[in-house]
């Protein structure tokens, strides 16, 4: 199976091309935030390095959120339209879980987190089981203080903080250790390996980023109109 994997959820941009368990080529950059501009040239370059054409691909694996709305939308749109137009398989993986893929020590707890500003986070808690991160506390948009309360029951275990964990050096409890070096960055190669073990998306049309947060306008509206059916806001004319 030939696989393209990509993560553009935040500032790092990571892309990999794999054939089954073999990583054919991968790059991870942290130099810019113009993912819309750089993503496809990098994909194209890696594919050419591997001697592959787009039509050779069998599956696209994408980190589809949470993260920067623009970042996850570019990655998700890229993967969604590519899978659709080539008629190949599509797999979405949590962008937080993608960071947890950097760790393999059995039973290790990992708390990937993205800074959502004003002391808010996108965060989840994962535990390595049979070599893979499994969900302990599901991904959520949460206040830092609330998140730390949720983690309190794991205070006797060490937790690896990854992602933007180092934005809160003085607020994280003592059982946190910070990921370092390459482990700090999402690795699309790991994403591509992990994504091969997952079932493909059934309905590509309805595949959208996992924002984990309503827009403010939408949230305010739903508060005022709890009964309203929101399924038909877009009409074909």
């Amino acid at each position: 199976m030939k696989v393209l994997a990509l993560d553009a959820s935040n500032r790092p941009l990571s892309i990999a091309v794999l054939e089954d368990r073999q990583i054919l080529a991968t790059t991870t950059t942290t130099t810019h935030q113009k993912h819309a501009q750089f993503l496809l040239p990098i994909i194209d370059g890696l594919m050419k390095d591997c001697g592959l054409k787009p039509a050779d691909l069998d599956r696209v694996v994408v980190a589809y959120g949470p993260g920067s709305y623009t970042g996850i939308r570019i990655a998700t749109a890229t993967a969604k339209v590519l899978a659709f137009t080539l008629g190949i398989q599509l797999v979405g993986v949590s962008s937080l879980q993608t960071l947890a893929l950097n760790f393999t020590r059995e039973r290790q707890l990992i708390s990937p987190m993205f800074d959502a500003r004003n002391q808010n986070l996108f965060a989840g808690l994962y535990r390595i089981k049979d070599g893979k991160p499994t969900v302990v506390i599901p991904d959520q948009h949460v206040e830092l203080s609330r998140w730390l309360t949720k983690l309190a029951s794991y205070k006797d275990e060490s937790i690896i903080g990854v992602g933007d964990a180092d934005h809160f050096p003085d607020q994280l409890p003592a059982n946190f250790t910070m990921a370092e070096n390459l482990n700090k960055l999402p690795q699309a190669a790991n994403l591509g390996l992990f994504g091969q073990t997952l079932p493909a998306v059934q309905d590509i049309d309805s595949f959208v980023p996992n924002y984990l947060r309503l827009t403010k306008a939408e949230a305010d509206w739903q508060k005022l109109h709890p009964e309203e059916d929101s399924s038909s806001y877009v009409e074909k004319v």
Binding site: A36, L40, Y69, T70, V208, V234
Partner: protein, 343 residues
């Protein structure tokens, strides 16, 4: 000659649209998914909401457009896309989708200016002959564009503040009309009388620029003042008075521009080009200029759609004007000013 088939994408604001166009002139399909119902809830387009809707609709629009046109990817020769101006997050969905279709099927990618698209909606009425002048009136723009030859667009005048469509939406809102208010205000204007005599801003100035914010303020002040003294104004008369003020200035300035820029064709395009008052008045006015033919974008192609992007894209295709895989959205893309205009 083999026919050219282009897939075109448009997602600059609140419509997701995919079209299949033959030789830049024939619409095989033009699928438009509009988000108006969603943004109505908020009284205007909310950018993040728009971006989210675009990614929900994009593959559905591609599939429907191909099915309706009865084409496969092998039939396609190029992919065109609006890359600006517009909302950056909204544009990015069309741009990304177009890039992926082009890359996956090894097709040239054609970057289209949204306003060139609006102008080329007129191409579906008749071939454009040059030199031409376009009056583009939409939700975000009001400008006079001189086209000395195919593929060249030069601004000779534009609004200094609000766009005409924006002014329609704002005065409509004051009268309690949902976004987008243009069509409703237009319908009301047909029933009222011009009793308020609102200002015709910049009408006599020696340039081709427009201003609608003064008119909008005059309207709102009149309305609120009447409300305060418990006076109920006739909404149809308000609409007629507003519309006359807008149309007067648009028509006057366009006629004056035509004197300095004698052209074969005058093109009326953009969302507000659907306006009945404007269409009627411009049609009557153009009779004074027998050498100039008026082409009005078809009513159903005045608003945002991908068919117009395919028509404009075909011109670039013939010139071999292709984008690289690094194409990005350019939310503030603009035509250049004409070299002879002193701003």
């Amino acid at each position: 000659m083999k026919r050219n088939l282009m897939m075109a994408f448009e997602s600059s604001c609140d419509e997701t649209s995919v079209a299949i166009i033959e030789n830049g002139a024939k619409i095989l399909s033009n699928v438009v998914a509009t988000q108006i119902k969603s943004h109505k809830r908020f009284g205007g387009v909310v950018p993040e909401v728009a971006s989210r809707h675009h990614i929900e609709e994009i593959t559905i629009c591609i599939r429907d457009a191909m099915q309706e046109a009865n084409v496969t990817y092998d039939d396609l020769d190029a992919v065109a896309v609006t890359y600006g101006p517009g909302l950056v997050g909204a544009l990015l969905i069309g741009v990304t989708a177009a890039k992926m279709v082009a890359w996956a099927h090894q097709l040239p990618l054609i970057p289209v200016n949204h306003l060139a698209g609006h102008i080329y909606a007129a191409r579906f009425v008749e071939p454009i002959e040059f030199p031409a002048l376009a009056l583009v009136v939409s939700g975000g723009h009001t400008e006079l564009v001189y086209m000395p030859k195919e593929g060249e667009f030069q601004i000779i005048g534009e609004t200094r503040d609000d766009a005409a469509g924006e002014a329609y939406d704002k005065v409509g809102r004051v009268m309690g009309i949902n976004y987008p208010a243009g069509p409703t205000v237009d319908a009301m204007a047909a029933k009222g009388n011009d009793t308020f005599d609102f200002p015709r801003a910049m009408d006599k100035d020696a340039n081709y620029d427009f201003s609608f914010s003064g008119l909008k303020s005059a309207f709102i002040n009149t309305y609120h003042h009447a409300e305060q003294v418990g006076n109920k104004l006739n909404h149809d008369d308000l609409a007629t008075s507003f519309q006359n003020a807008v149309v007067d200035v648009l028509v006057d300035k366009t006629l004056r521009a035509l004197k300095n820029y004698p052209v074969k064709q005058l093109i009326l395009a953009g969302g507000v080009a659907a306006n009945n008052g404007l269409r009627t008045r411009l049609s009557a006015a153009i009779d004074q200029l027998p050498a100039t033919q008026l082409i009005m974008a078809p009513r159903k192609l005045c608003g945002d759609n991908a068919a117009m992007i395919g028509a404009a894209g075909y011109v670039l295709f013939k010139e071999g004007h292709f984008a690289g895989l690094d194409l990005n959205a350019d939310p503030s893309l603009e035509f250049d000013w004409a070299p002879d205009v002193i701003q």
